[in-house]
Amino acid sequence: MSLRPTLNQWFRFAWPPFVAVLFFLTAWEAAVRFFGVEAWILPSPSVIAGEASKSAESLWMHTLSTLQLTLIGFAIGSSVGLLVACVLHLVPLLKSALYPLLILSQNVPTIALAPLLMIWFGFGLLPKIIVITLVCFFPVAVSAMDGFAQTDRTMLNYMRMIGANRVQIFRKLEFPHALPSLFSGLRIAATYSVMGAVIAEWIGAQKGIGYYMILQKSAFRTDRIFAAIVIIVVLSLLLFLLVTLVERLVIRGGRRSGNTEGGELR
């Protein structure tokens, strides 16, 4: 049960999707060449790669800007989500009052709110952070609250019987018990936050991958848009992996998803 899978294991897991992607790219390349599709409609992978390496410097600058925005937004959004979950869990009346509203709020599309936020808060960092926070906060809050609510009854009973107070029960039992659930929320929020950052940049920014996409769209540079999409995918993936890595460091005692429970030893 080592934390790191061996190279051999990794290879066994990695090669099927790797081959699938390779196959897909080859088919794409062949189709574009065979049918003679115009580059402004659908550029071939090789053209996209060539363009990406040519404008690598500018792409890197925009990527860094988006990454920075994403990380700040993700940190703030997740913290707010976790804080809301804790408060609502500890004050049941507040939870019954606000939980339905919380669910309802998710029916408001963020992209519709973004222009409003620009009007209210200008074109600085603040409205963009708010967009990402809105996107991140929900999965974190809901998964944390679910985790708190699903605390093991026998453990809860034990803590009460030995006279633990509300704060002790929360700190020593409910919070650590909710960590796996919280992390699955964080994983979702991590990928959402990249999307949130790009949307925020579409609406109003002077740099960033979202801004770059808008710029290239008006120039019909489909190849560059594709390069931007690839970068967005890679960013999402990296953030997802980062959260998974932190989860592995934080969660102890064979509770990670995928670990079978109760490996017996006599």
């Binding site: 453990m155 019987m161 005692g253 429970e261």
Partner: protein
Amino acid sequence: MSKSEKENRRIGRGAEAGSESDAPIKLELSGLHKSFGSKRKPLPVIGGVSLQVHEGEFVSLIGPSGSGKSTLFHLIGGLLQPEQGEIRLDGRVINGERGHIGYMPQQPALFPWRTIEDNVVLDHEVNGIPRRETLDEARRWMERAGLAGFEQAYPHMLSGGMQQRAAFVRALLSPHGLMCLDEPFSALDAFTRSEMQTWLLDIWEETRRSVLFVTHHIEEALLLSDTIYVLSGRPSAVLRRIEVPFPRPRREEIAESPEFLALRRELTGLMKEEQRKTRSSDISGIL
């Protein structure tokens, strides 16, 4: 309640059976009543239970299923308030007060993210005793419980019996004088269970803590206890109090003595009758 007290019988008390009755009373329940359900239609669960646990005495509670044994523990633990009656610990009324007992639940309820060592000292932690003051004692008892070498292991790496032993050590290390054990072996297989009983017998005779032990296993109660209280079905009251005459230290072999068999037969008969009564009253309740 006085009726059931009058019915109490003393069965052939052995000279070595200990002088529990001379020891001060650790826990005393007098005339406890508790019902659930609405005010208009209350469902009485505990109907006047009175019992005593002396200092250093091992007391078992047995009764038919659904006789409110867990409710009784929740009353003692302060999770519930009795409608009537008193719970006294060391002479002080503790109705509805929490944090006065050590507790071992049916399931081990070890926290999966804590090592065995950290689990075992949890009760101390909750009671605000610094870890370094307890770790030595904890390690000693873990070794005694056959958990040496597993201090840093996580609960899922241990067998069911080992987990229960860890849960027992956790309750044993509790800074409170009274240990409440709630059917601690009911989830174990028969072989592990009998192994655990012998182990518990050994370790208890060494420590002589005051224990209140809930079980529905008659032989287990006879093997381990100084005193057995038989509870009736709902609403439960003490049906009979039996002092177990076998001398200590006890051996498993007493289970083959004629005296043991006679007591077992008597208790089995009592329980069967209660179970039948409970069932027929449940049926008439439905009709």
